[in-house]
Structures are given as structure tokens and as C-alpha cells.
Chain length 216, copies 2
């Protein structure tokens, strides 16, 4: 190797203090999407910051979310199971502080919306609350869920409706790509660190015998 490496085998990982290990392992998955999960039990609108949204498929349109019982409020998971519906709202670089504040352990009947100053907004067809401040709002219904080996849950949901802020009319490109950086979407590393992004390149479809082109 040109550079020396710091090496961590399994026993060195297991000897880490619990909080150190949580920070270390949570950094390994790379930059993560920054979303607020909106749910309702009929009376209280709940909101939880979540960094485990993953693309599952485009047709039908599906997103997955890993929910860890000890980090995500049980309320949110219970609400999803009881109502079948939830929203995912991109966290904007302008309100990462309010978004992160939703991870505090509020009382069961206290809404994180009102506690943090974010604004609930409802569409005509959906019972779960959206975050008004979010430029990308997605309404989903649960399709299936799996319990993983460490008792976390992997929830797959079908996208039913999408709202894009039209503060930037040019964000939706001709090929369907949404320029989420121009809409102010943030990303997360580790458990508590938020980032904005800078464009490097959009590449052409890769083929074995030709060089990539930079599309933008």
C-alpha cells in the first residue's frame, strides 16, 4: 500500500466502548440520505429524523427504510403498522438543526412538529403529515416488512404521491433526474453530522469499450 492503513479487526471493533463503536460503525455506511419520517396515530403527528432510506425499485416505485427500535421512536413504527401510511421529507440544509432536534425523546402525546417548530402539512389524500419546509415530500404505504437478525425492521413502502417544491422550477430535468442539491437537500454522516453537497459530475451510461462522458 502507498499509504499505511489503520486496521480494525473484529476483536478490535468489539473492544470499542459502546458509544465509540456506534459512531464508528455508523460512519462506515458512507453519506446517507437525510429525511424526516412523518406519521400519525390519528391525534398526534410524529416526526423522526431518519438516515436509512434506500432505493428498492422504480416500477412499481418502492423505497426501503431500516428502523431500529432503540433509535427510531417506537411511536413512528407503531403508527406505520397501525395506519399503513407514512411520509418521507428531505431535510433541507436550512433546517438541519430543527430536523435533528426531532431525535429528542419527547413524551408520547407530544408532537415533534410543535416541539421543533417544523410545520405539519396535509395533502388531500393522505392521513400522514408532511413537513411543509421540505422541498421533496413523498407519501408511502407499507408493502411489506421484515425483522432482521438484530431485531431491527426493514420496511418497504410504495410511493403513492410526490410533491416537489417549485421554488426552483429547473430542478426537474428533462431526463427525469431531480437536482436535489439545487432543492437544498442535505445528507448525513455518522449519527449527527449534516452536510451540503457539491456537484462533481453526471456521467453518461457506461459501456465497455467507450470512455464516459460528463453530461453536466
Amino acid at each position: 500500500m502507498d499509504n499505511q492503513e489503520d486496521f480494525f479487526d473484529r476483536s478490535r471493533i468489539e473492544q470499542m466502548p459502546q458509544r465509540f463503536r456506534a459512531n464508528f460503525i455508523n460512519s462506515l455506511s458512507g453519506f446517507k440520505s437525510a429525511s424526516l419520517l412523518g406519521t400519525s396515530n390519528g391525534t398526534t403527528a410524529n416526526l423522526a429524523v431518519i438516515s436509512s432510506v434506500v432505493h428498492v425499485g422504480a416500477n412499481p416505485p418502492l423505497l426501503g427504510v431500516v428502523m431500529r427500535p432503540h433509535t427510531v421512536r417506537r411511536d413512528s413504527l407503531e403508527n406505520i403498522k397501525n395506519t399503513g401510511s407514512y411520509t418521507l421529507n428531505h431535510i433541507g440544509v436550512a433546517f438541519t438543526d430543527k430536523a435533528h432536534q426531532t431525535s429528542a425523546r419527547y413524551e408520547k402525546d407530544e408532537s415533534e412538529f410543535y416541539a421543533t417548530g417544523l410545520t405539519p402539512w396535509y395533502s388531500e389524500s393522505f392521513s400522514a403529515p408532511y413537513v411543509k419546509e421540505s422541498s421533496v415530500k413523498i407519501g408511502l404505504t407499507v408493502t411489506e416488512h421484515f425483522t432482521l437478525c438484530n431485531d431491527t425492521e426493514f420496511v418497504v413502502g410504495e410511493i403513492k404521491e410526490v410533491f416537489l417544491s417549485s421554488s426552483n422550477k429547473d430542478a426537474l430535468k428533462d431526463d427525469g433526474y431531480i437536482d436535489i442539491a439545487s432543492l437544498g437537500s442535505a445528507c448525513i454522516s455518522g449519527l449527527d453530522t449534516y452536510h451540503s453537497t457539491q456537484h462533481i459530475a453526471k456521467y453518461s451510461y457506461a459501456k465497455p469499450d467507450s470512455d464516459l462522458a460528463k453530461m453536466s
Copy 2:
């Protein structure tokens, strides 16, 4: 709403042309980790760009990956199932072009390492290849996998070893957080767009009755 919204209901999404819809839906999951998945069938070292890595747990240390049979080379998934081991290597901002080139459909016995100019590197204890150029290298073994409703697979793996480039000795913080931005890790939006990141804030642990502090 202060701003008008662009609204997409399910029928509008279904009417999108296939490629447009793929770009649109792939943008909704937000910024995604940018990794190269390294596998081997014993003779050929395969490498595939992947943006679906998700944190599953810290103790035991677990990562999940969604693998779509029609986007990820079947080779990689077959290699994982046959050998049980694979590597995840952060894509650096300095080699997003080479990383993206691995998504071309090479012949079955052709290694994406040699085709793209990335360098295979092996640890003492692991049969799957690492990417030498990557600052964060993770070796995993399969723990469980699930077939989802659209025939994609969700593979959960246990982290067995981690190599951090020590080109930046300060990247590993006292609390266990790895400053992956300082190590040059990139992120992805949509299917083909790569980004670097800029630090906004690292927040303190959120509590109901106190304001967040910026730790850095």
C-alpha cells in the same frame, strides 16, 4: 403553501417513460453512499458500483445492501452467495469516473478492476478483493438475505474488518466518528450523479428541553 408545488400522483408516475421514471424515482431516496462492491469467484475479481448501502446495526456491526438483479451484475450477487464474503469500498471524489465505469456490462470473465484501472488489493484473511484507491475498506460476510416483492434482494452482512487510509491521521475522531469527508468519500444522487460534501454541523445529542449545541 408559500411556494407552489409540483404534484405527482401515482397515475402521473406510471405514465412516465421508463427511463424518465427510473431517474425520477432514483432521485427521491436522497443522497446515497457511493461504494464499490468487491467479490470474487475464485478466478475473476468483480467490482460493481453500488449506492444502496444502509446501516443496520453497530453491535454486532451490520450493513445492508439492496441488490437489483437488473442493475447489479448477477456475477456479484452469485459470488456473494457462493463465497459468503464481499467488500465495500468508499468511492473517492478523485475516482468517481473509474468507479462509474464499473457499471458497464463487461464479459463474464473480464475483471472490472483491470477494465477501469482500479487496483485490487487483498488482506491476509479475506478472499474478496478490496479497492486499493479507496480510503475506507470494509470486509463483510453474509448474515441473511431476503427477496423483496419486486425480486430485488436485501443482503445483510456482518463487518469483519475495516481499513482506514491513514493519509489523514485526524479522520478518526475521539468519539469514534470517522470524518469521511476528509477522507474524500463521495455520494451519489439519482443513477449517475456524484457529489462531494461540505460540513454544515455536528450536533449534540438532542434532548427535549434544551437547545442543540454545534459540536463542530
